[in-house]
């Protein structure tokens, strides 16, 4: 059955013509190039390189960035792109999120003019892949205590430390790495062939299997002085990137939820038990109605947040709420959809279990569900509860 996007409140009618054309372009790509290949890619544990090429050719990488051959679309369009990509697979959306929001954005916002001119065009075209090194083995939700450090050696910087859970790491030509220079967090551009840098792939994932996840290792890694991002100091740098990536995730999760709903609806209409389609039973209809309700709310949340991003009236807490809520309901929808599919739900003939496993990662990365609750708790009360003296 062709995919029919659930849009109960006709939210997409609020998009501009241009945003709808971008949606259709990416949706067709996902239908034609991603869905027929995704299960094999997951079994093989690879990110197909032709998807990188296609994303570059479509011109969607770094979607909301302007200039330097970047697309210059609205943030709403960027959200729509994420939604359509994640309807295919969270790993595909992760690739685009990392490239655009975590690798291109810091260069675009905090880089020197020379860095922008050198890196951004080839990243927008997909010729170069970027990754983002913030999380460390012992510092996930608490990146401020990172131990990766940079030393000023006069004519170069020396990086030492390790990063973990880095999407695109092994296949990237460059990494935007956050490290402490004289105790202050700074951003550095590390290129693949820089001496002392390696990016081994992490194996054995049950989630995001069609996405490359890596460690970044810096052992006396020597980089030129002009690779520091001059425009930012402190956690504001990485958090600015994360805000954009989290924003995209709030849309992306809707796409995964729509895929699960679509499959559950079709399955329930065709699966006969006790002589009737299971869709005719009240318990199943209750589940489908709940999915419809939550997806519709998530769509409205994502769209309105997109409008606020485009109008510049957003605050980070808005993004926390949308990321947290939309991933949460997407994961629950995947679980309910698996239930509706019965035993068939565990097979890769259906997208359900793959989306469910992916969303477990999405719930945790880019600020865990709980951390976003704490961000909102701080916003409500004015009291931070991330840490305390024990």
């Amino acid at each position: 059955m062709p995919y029919e996007a659930l849009d109960f409140y006709d939210v997409d009618s609020l998009l501009t013509d241009e945003e709808r054309m971008v949606r259709d372009m990416v949706r067709d790509f996902v239908d034609e190039e991603v869905i027929p290949k995704i299960e094999h890619a997951c079994r093989d544990g690879v990110f197909p390189d032709e998807w990188r090429v296609a994303l570059g050719e479509m011109g969607v990488l770094g979607a909301p960035l302007k200039g330097y051959d970047c697309p210059g679309l609205s943030y709403t369009a960027y959200g729509v792109i994420c939604r359509e990509l994640e309807r295919g697979d969270s790993g595909l959306r992760s690739f685009a999120s990392v490239q655009g929001s975590l690798a291109m954005y810091p260069i675009w916002d905090f880089g020197s003019e020379e860095q922008k001119q050198y890196y951004l065009p080839k990243m927008a075209s997909g010729e170069w892949i970027g990754c983002f090194g913030l999380t460390e083995p012992d510092y996930g939700s608490n990146p401020g205590d990172m131990i990766t450090k940079a030393e000023d050696m006069g004519d170069h910087y020396l990086l030492n430390g390790a990063k973990m859970w880095i999407t695109n790491g092994t296949i990237a030509q460059l990494a935007v790495v956050w490290a402490k220079l004289d105790g202050v967090i700074r951003g550095f551009i590390v290129e693949k062939d820089d001496p002392g840098f390696s990016a081994p792939e992490m194996k054995g994932k049950h989630s995001l299997k069609a996405s490359v996840t890596s460690e970044l290792v810096f052992q006396d890694c020597k980089i030129p002085k002009d690779r520091i991002l001059p425009g930012v100091k402190g956690l504001r740098g990485p958090f600015s990137c994360l805000n954009n990536a989290r924003y995209g995730i709030s849309w992306g999760a809707v796409g995964a939820a729509q895929a699960c709903f679509d499959s559950a609806k079709e399955y329930s209409l065709s699966r006969i038990q006790f002589t009737h389609p299971i869709a005719s039973y009240q318990l199943v209809q209750n589940k489908l109605a709940w999915m419809l309700r939550e997806i519709t709310k998530a769509q409205l949340l994502a769209y309105h947040l997109g409008q606020k991003k485009d109008a510049g009236t957003w605050i980070p807490e808005h993004i926390s709420l949308a990321k947290m809520n939309n991933v949460d309901i997407a994961l629950e929808i995947a679980r309910e959809a698996r239930d509706i599919h019965g035993a068939n739900g565990i097979l890769d003939e259906y997208c359900i279990m793959r989306h469910m496993a992916n969303l477990e990662s999405v719930k945790t990365y880019e600020g865990t569900h709980d951390i976003h609750n704490l961000i909102l708790g701080r916003h409500i009360t004015g009291i931070q509860s991330f840490t305390r003296e024990l």
Partner: protein, 280 residues
């Protein structure tokens, strides 16, 4: 006008050819005729004997028109020139023109006809032929038939009206800067047909799928003006409605399947598969 035998001014069946035509370097304008139809995957409902347009969830290019557009884009890339995308219909058709611009159409022409469904195929051909002539195009690409009506009359009909050669069932067109060579199937495989402008090519499924647009194309398409021509602007008398469909005959229903149960029926099933179905 006899649509059964469209004028074909120059058909040459050859492998290597020299043809007359515009000299190399002359500006080539290709008009691509596009029709917006309900997407082949969209659910449709019928109301009053017609497709309920308000209930169509997705409109798309007629698939054979996509082959025509892609072939025109490839010809433009190899031989230069300009592409004029022309569609006739209500306001919703402008989306089709934007989509054509997003992949590379240079000029967009909307022949505004809110009541296009009241026109018969000859009246539509009159409109399109007038639009082609007004656009200045000497080469016309279109699909061999539309996915909704499947009449297959637009290409030959427009060719007749503008006095052009017409080649149907085309899979590929090339140009050496002078004439045009079209590839189409023949009883022996494929044949190459050489024609000179003015000419019309009606495309079958060819060797290429329509390219995917990109963001740059979409953003340029947004800014591109659409020339809207009314029937009056075209100054054409489309004539009276002259094509009447007297009746529709649905395909004959398949006979109901036969059901066999139990081991005793095995020999019967085998004999039917062998003697009636001829599959074993």
């Amino acid at each position: 006008m006899n649509l059964q035998t469209p004028t074909v001014r120059s058909l040459i069946f050859i492998d290597e050819l020299m043809v007359e035509g515009t000299s190399k370097g002359n500006h080539m304008t290709i008009a691509v005729l596009l029709k917006q139809v309900p997407d082949t995957t969209a659910k449709i409902s019928v109301n009053g004997g017609r497709v309920d347009e308000n209930a169509v969830s997705k409109w798309s290019f007629s698939p054979y028109d996509e082959y025509a557009l892609e072939s025109a884009l490839q010809l433009k890339e190899s031989a230069g020139g300009e592409i004029v995308a022309i569609t006739a219909g209500p306001a919703r058709c402008e989306k089709l023109l934007r989509d054509a611009a997003a992949v590379g159409a240079d000029t967009l022409v909307h022949v505004s006809a809110e009541n296009i469904n009241d026109f018969d195929s000859i009246q539509v051909q009159n409109l399109l032929a007038a639009a082609v002539q007004k656009s200045g195009a000497s080469v016309v690409f279109c699909g061999k038939q539309a996915a909704d009506t499947n009449a297959g009359s637009t290409g030959p009909g427009v060719a007749e009206l503008i006095g052009a050669s017409c080649v149907t069932l085309v899979s590929e067109v090339s140009s050496d800067g002078g004439g045009y060579t079209a590839t189409r199937p023949s009883s022996a495989g494929h044949e190459k047909v050489a024609v000179s402008a003015p000419c019309v090519f009606a495309f079958d499924k060819g060797i290429c799928e329509m390219r995917r647009p990109n963001v740059r194309g979409i953003m340029m398409a947004k800014k591109k003006p659409i020339e809207t021509w009314s029937v009056e602007d075209l100054g054409v008398d489309i004539g009276a409605n002259g094509v009447n469909i007297d009746s529709h005959s649905p395909p004959a229903e398949k006979p109901p399947g036969q059901k066999f149960e139990g081991a005793d029926s095995v020999s019967t099933v085998v004999s039917k598969l062998r003697d009636e179905a001829n599959v074993i």
